[in-house]
């Protein structure tokens, strides 16, 4: 179940029911590219190449810096530039590795784009993931317009905002054991998640 959520975050077969412009187009373009990479028979034989290709594709639309900043919440302003860079790198690495692994288990999930809401520089693209067994999951992308390009800064799976979830979790760790403990945990996990 959860793997499918993760798969849907960045992949899924594009089956748009409506034609949207702007943010939805950007999301769809990335999704199509991800599907192309995952379905490439040549890349299937080379795991590392495929993983790199996926990371590259995902990074085109995911704004890791914004996600990291929002996830750290009020603690972001208390961090130095170096700490922010380190934290952003750790965050990006974990996100790429954990979800790229799941994307590789893509199994003909379909995505229907339902609605696009734009409010100035912010947008939300609502979609629905449909598994081959016709189970459905809601999957929404929150985007921010940067230099004329829509970038994803949050993903909402079944009503759960990843950024909001991480902000709560990170705050709990920082409040209880300090910022360094959080960084230690993220580093440990990064080491565990080695690319195939």
């Amino acid at each position: 179940m959860l793997r499918r959520y993760a798969v849907a975050v960045v992949t899924g077969l594009f089956l748009a029911s409506n034609a949207f412009a702007g943010a939805t187009d950007d999301v769809k373009k990335t999704v199509d590219e991800v599907v192309h990479v995952v379905s490439d028979k040549n890349l299937k034989k080379h795991d590392q190449q495929r993983r790199q290709a996926l990371k590259k594709t995902i990074s085109v639309i995911f704004d890791y810096s914004e996600m990291a900043k929002r996830s750290l919440g009020k603690h972001w302003s208390q961090r130095s530039q170096a700490e922010r860079r380190q934290f952003t790198d750790l965050f990006a690495s974990l996100l790429e590795n954990s979800y790229a692994g799941k994307i590789e288990s893509y199994n003909n999930e379909k995505i229907m784009y339902l609605k696009e809401t734009v409010d100035g520089d912010h947008a939300e693209v609502r979609s629905k993931v449909i598994t081959p067994k016709r189970d459905e999951y809601s999957l929404d992308y929150r985007l921010l317009k940067e230099n004329g390009k829509w970038m994803v800064y949050d993903v909402v799976i079944e009503g759960v905002s990843l950024v909001s979830n991480y902000r709560t979790q990170f705050n709990k760790i920082i409040t209880t054991n300090g910022y360094n403990e959080l960084v230690k945990k993220l580093k440990t996990k990064t080491d565990e998640l080695k690319a195939p």
């Binding site: 179940m1 959860l2 793997r3 893509y106 199994n107 991480y166 979790q169 440990t188």
Partner: protein, 460 residues
Amino acid sequence: MKSLFTSLLIVGALFGPPSSSHAAEDAAQGNLVLGLNDCIRMALKAAPELGEAQADIEQTASKLDEAKSYRYPQLEVMSLFGPAPQARAQDITPTIATDRSTRLNRLTWFTSADATLIQPLYTFGKISENMKAATHGIEVDRSRKEQRANEITLKVREYYYGLMLARELKEVVLEVQEDLAAARKKAQKLLDDGSESVDQIDIYKLDAFSGEVAKLLEEAQKGEKLALAALKTRLGLSAITPLDIGSERLTMDEETVPSYDAFVDRARLRRPEFRQIAEGIKARAALVEAAKANYYPDVFLGGLASWAYADDRDRINNPYITDQYKHFYGGAALGLRWKLDFGITGAKVAGEQAQYNRLLSTKEFADANIPLQIKKFYLDLKEAEQSVTATQSAYSNGKKWAVAALANFDFGVGPAKEIFDALQAYARMRAAYFQSIYNYKIARANLDYAVGEAPLDGAK
């Protein structure tokens, strides 16, 4: 169901390999694939009970024909052929000779025919009331047949939904089982690598769940086979007939359930048992009147014709004398036939009255108990409806919990145990959700039966 959470744990948290989808297998070419309505139609066609019910209708229809036929004249003819003594007119002219005897060497042959015709004119209700009773009797039998059809429909729906539920649960268990194997492998690898995110207890949990999942899978498979076999039997198909159902997923009906009172009102119009009782009471009332009619005579128009011929006998023309071997006469008359007895008719009337009273009591019972039955099924329906909403909410929250727990684990900021717990709740609620939908559909099927909905109208 515990295994499901384990499977998800493995898949998500431990980056298990992709789990293959367990979408229902396509029916093999040549398979008989039927939807619910198709199954109902086939079951109604194959049901021997309906053949019996139809025979009852035909039998009662023959009684109506018999009752109607009493309105028409009845003709009775008797014909004789045999020896007769020779006779001459001189034996009685001018005086009647009294020393004649019948001798064997003076026999001749005779033939005769006597016809009696009776046309009922007025029977004080004997014919009309019996006709009425038979007419209502046919309606009683038709309602019985309808009741049988509704019972068959209910059974088909039970088997059909049961098969769907078994398959949904089997899919859940299969997914869990597959993911468990992958999880076990990944968890062991992380443990061997010295990861802090997994410990030996997690491995023990996975192993414990594996056994439970295997047991659940056997139960689910048995349930599927049993439901399919029962459906085939009800459809009149052999055990080896390849059959599959057209519905893939067990989903909630999108309908607004009417009020309880609306169901009761509808039952009074449609429920076969109500119609059986109503028609039965009319039939019994007519039989009581028919029995009472036996107190009175039958008025009829009678006709008589008699002819006899014999060789070697002279024809006698005398209004006082009739030769039984050689004559022809006929006539018509208004008649009255009255059978008097000392208690027999009274006892029969009392017997019919008792049957009539018995039906009145049955009506009282039905009036009180059918609404009660509807109430039970209606409450079952509402309970299931609430349960679907509750389990859907729980299932949705279980998913949210699992998503959050997995996301935390992926970042190293959440324990594996949290995913286990979330997935356990998710799996349990998912199973409960399907069970609730099944309960809802069965309650709806029971309600349709209790109301007396037509089989295919009720096939939701």
